[in-house]
């Protein structure tokens, strides 16, 4: 029986002998994740049903990253629920402010997720870890409560769409552009209930941070998961910076069945921008050069990693942010924050006239640290541009990669980095 990488990982987490798309399985999880928005409901449900202990205190991660450092009293109460639960059950992977980071950047950085793992997270962007060759999917708080108790999750084995990216990427084009282009092609429900397997020459050459950005947005096409076969780039990542992650390097079999195979000439793809109010409204940046912006946000679980900040700083060095634009840079984790200071990136952001914040999901979901007023427009390296996502229902969010967001901050309108560099 020929299997896709996704089918192989799922099969190995069950007691079954074979598996097929459409099957319902009850699978073992390697890690269950919750944050300050979703975990409080899970914890309330865990307690309401009378559960006494968690299945494995080392296989649970609780990350207060959304409305933290607590933006108001109610958010502080939510975060406190995580802290108390972690104390009570001696949760090994609870991350307090100052050691924290945006969950989907933090867990790989800490070596808590690796190739071949099955990860569930009560956050839709949990699909990020597919970049390491894991099966990783977003679930709800009730699923998380069930996961805390049993260490298992019910899943329907998804069909897979294979996306093949041929060729070499143009300058300023990265994982974010590939995924925005793909979502633009297939639509926000183009991969509904399905696994998205990314492959081809451009993917094999793609750095780890770009792979994370790509898999992160599988959900924006309705996908259950995004996945990239682990290779030497993966191996290097999981064994660097003090990480020693053990993992199983699964590969899709030749002859594995796909719902469909979609090929792209990656060398023809320009830096992309997604216009309001859906990630699927994407097109080349040149199409949007008349859009004036009020704010540029560089950060989030999609593009708040060190290579993203380096690219942005490269463009901002020696330049000033347009006088009517707010530039908000939010490193995704404490480590990236500290690294950006050491490398002099923070200094570049500050001297350009931007702000540089402690890690948080911040304005991405309209929480805090940069909420938009009515009629305002932002360019953001985040993942969603739904109506009202970053603030007022009459504000607008344009999605892009960090280079475009930095160039736009300088120009005061959506701009191609080539216009400056």
């Amino acid at each position: 029986m020929a299997y896709t990488i996704t089918e192989k990982i799922l099969l190995d987490h069950t007691d079954k002998k074979s598996i097929a798309p459409g099957d319902f399985i009850y699978a073992k999880i390697d890690l269950a994740l919750g944050n300050d928005i979703t975990a409080p409901i899970a914890i309330q449900e865990f307690e309401a049903i009378g559960a006494k202990k968690v299945f494995d205190r080392k296989r649970i991660a609780l990350v207060p990253d959304h409305f933290t450092p607590a933006k108001d009293k109610k958010s502080a109460e939510q975060a406190k629920i995580l802290k108390n639960f972690s104390d009570k059950h001696k949760i090994a992977n609870y991350f307090e402010i100052g050691r924290m980071g945006v969950e989907h950047a933090l867990l790989p950085e800490k070596g808590l997720v690796g190739p071949g793992d099955l990860i569930i997270g009560a956050d839709s962007h949990t699909c990020t870890y597919g970049a390491l060759g894991a099966f990783s999917t977003g679930i709800g708080s009730t699923d998380l409560a069930a996961g805390f108790i049993t260490g298992c999750v019910w899943l329907k084995v998804p069909e897979t769409i294979k996306f093949v990216y041929n060729g070499t990427l143009k300058p300023w084009v990265g994982g974010k552009d590939l995924i925005l282009h793909t979502i633009g092609d297939i639509g926000v429900d183009g991969a509904l209930y399905m696994a998205m397997e990314f492959t081809g020459g451009a993917i094999k050459a793609l750095p780890m941070d770009d792979r994370f950005a790509m898999c992160n947005m599988a959900i924006e096409a309705g996908g259950k998961s995004g996945i990239i076969e682990p290779d030497n780039i993966t191996r290097k990542y999981i064994n660097s910076e003090g990480r020693k992650v053990k993992g199983i390097f699964y590969k899709s079999d030749e002859g594995a069945k796909y719902r469909k195979v979609i090929e792209y000439d990656a060398d023809k793809i320009e830096p992309q921008v997604s216009a309001p109010h859906l990630p699927s409204n994407s097109g080349p940046v040149s199409r949007f050069k008349k859009v004036n912006i009020d704010q540029s946000v560089i950060g989030s679980c999609t593009n708040g990693r060190i290579s993203d900040l380096r690219v942005a700083a490269g463009i901002l060095k020696g330049r000033k942010v347009n006088s009517r634009v707010r530039l908000i840079v939010i490193p995704a984790t404490q480590k990236i924050y500290s690294q950006a200071i050491e490398e002099g990136l923070a200094d570049i952001f500050l001297k350009s006239g931007g702000v540089f914040s402690t890690p948080s999901c911040g304005p991405c979901l309209g929480g805090h640290l940069g909420i938009l007023a009515s009629g305002e427009k932002a360019i953001a390296t985040t993942n969603r541009n739904f109506r009202g996502r970053m603030g007022h229902p009459d504000s607008e969010v344009y999605l892009s990669n960090p280079a475009v967001a930095a160039a736009s901050a300088v120009k005061g309108r959506i701009a191609h980095p080539d216009e400056l560099v």
Partner: protein
Amino acid sequence: MKFKGKVWKFKDDVNTDEIIPARYLNTTDPKELGEHCMEDIDPLFSKKVSRGDIIVGGKNFGCGSSREHAQISIKGAGVSCVIAESFARIFLRNAINMGLPILEIKDIRAVREGDYLEVDLNSGIVLDLTEHKEYKAKPLPRFIQEIISSGGLLKWIRKRGMDAKRTK
């Protein structure tokens, strides 16, 4: 399980930020979340909707985040059931796990706002009492029906025994 209610129609791709904007996610209180249900699409929705009314969406209803505040908010607003052409996957599983009745019906966009529907969850038959038309939902897989008939995922787990079913 049968219920009757008035239809409130929504577009394709209704996302969870529209169902309950993130600015209200600092609480889990059903009443408070219910007061802001669908606020960014229709600021008056929670005032207009009556207990037992039915939301009818298009395709990909509930796309976006994993927040169960969306289901809590819909229930909190008094909505009895959501019918859509298709549901986003996390919204679908959250609804199943939390016991919010949902039905997937391919041609449901033919119903009109304000129509009265009679919904029979067990048979999946929906009658449009205003237009005298019948719709049939896609039957739910047996495994899902088992979770729903247990009263949600956690009750299903309790029935199976709370111990971890892991061998590792």
